[in-house]
């Protein structure tokens, strides 16, 4: 198998595993459909915005939970935002972690919230590194002169 075919196979296998393991859902497929010759970096651009946004939200959440008197409405607002943006890019496990988090905000349960924040951070760092790997694979395919396979 030549280099391009090898890389393409790696890409397909890796993408498939991300969907199978629930890191990404159909919304990510929708994002990829929005990328074309006139917008060749669309997915990377949106995902980069998501990374920036997420980092801010995580910091805001950590600081909101460290207040003497925790404002659960504020915490919930941040989680809601995080849930929204992760859902918009198809980061399913992050989204699900946010859903669980909101339940603890409703219950005004500080310990539960702290645990959920850890969970959200964990899922976020996982999907971030997986997406970065995926993008790197795409770059390698393009550099080798190949085209990025489209998953059915």
């Amino acid at each position: 198998m030549d280099v391009v075919s090898q890389l393409q196979k790696q890409f397909v296998d890796y993408s498939t595993s991300l969907y199978r393991e629930g890191f990404l859902d159909d919304q990510f497929v929708q994002l990829q459909k929005l990328q074309d010759e006139s917008n060749p970096d669309f997915v990377v651009e949106v995902v980069s915005l998501f990374f920036e946004d997420s980092e801010k939200l995580i910091n805001n959440l950590a600081s909101a939970l460290q207040q003497q008197i925790v404002d659960y409405k504020q915490v919930d607002a941040h989680v809601h935002q995080f849930k929204g943006s992760s859902s918009s890019i198809g980061a399913q496990r992050v989204k699900n972690a946010c859903v669980a988090f909101r339940a603890h905000c409703d219950g005004r349960n500080l310990e539960g919230c702290m645990r959920c924040l850890q969970q959200v951070k964990f899922e976020y760092s996982l999907v971030k590194s997986k997406l970065e790997t995926l993008f790197k694979l795409e770059q390698q395919i393009l550099a080798a002169g190949g085209s990025i396979p489209v998953l059915a």
Partner: protein, 162 residues
């Protein structure tokens, strides 16, 4: 700050004048980028606003502004997120529908949450449609129907999209 997209490469043969103009309001930068792409793919001109206040300012309804005749702005559709800090999408909807100049503009509310009382409230206040996020291309294609240029159909063109 309201910002307009200038993606002429996606105009799909329609000139500036003929493309319907959509005002998209959302506090999430990720979602603004997404909706802009979805709309541009349907041959729309897009202006985005990050909150209700900015949207109102763009429409000429900001504090201290004189109301502007919509024929100058030519906004054919407003699409707004429901949950926004400050002014909600519902409150924005109300303000638009209360304005004699702007009430004709169809307003679509989007939300990540499927709450029947919320949906009914928006529809009762005059929202054209309530859609769930995240939006897909097929959702936005449906909206083309509402984008009649103040009573004039867009040359009978439908968005063929993808």
């Amino acid at each position: 700050m309201a910002s307009s997209s200038s993606s002429s490469s996606s105009s799909k043969g329609l000139d500036e004048e003929e493309r319907p103009h959509v005002l998209a309001v959302d506090d999430s930068l990720v979602d603004r980028k997404l909706i802009e792409r979805l709309l541009t793919n349907c041959a729309c001109k897009v202006t985005t606003a990050e909150n209700g206040q900015r949207a109102l300012e763009f429409l000429g309804l900001g504090d201290g502004q004189h109301t502007v005749d919509n024929s100058d702005l030519k906004v054919n559709l407003i699409i707004t997120d429901y949950c926004m800090p400050g002014m909600t999408g519902y409150e924005l909807l109300k303000k638009v529908k209360e304005s004699s100049n702007l009430r004709e503009i169809p307003v679509v509310i989007v939300s990540s949450e499927n709450v029947p009382t919320r949906i009914n409230k928006c529809l009762e206040e005059g929202a054209q449609e309530f859609m769930l996020k995240p939006l897909k291309q097929s959702d936005v294609k449906k909206l083309r129907y509402y984008m009649m240029r103040l009573g004039q159909p867009c040359n009978g063109m439908l968005c063929m999209g993808r």
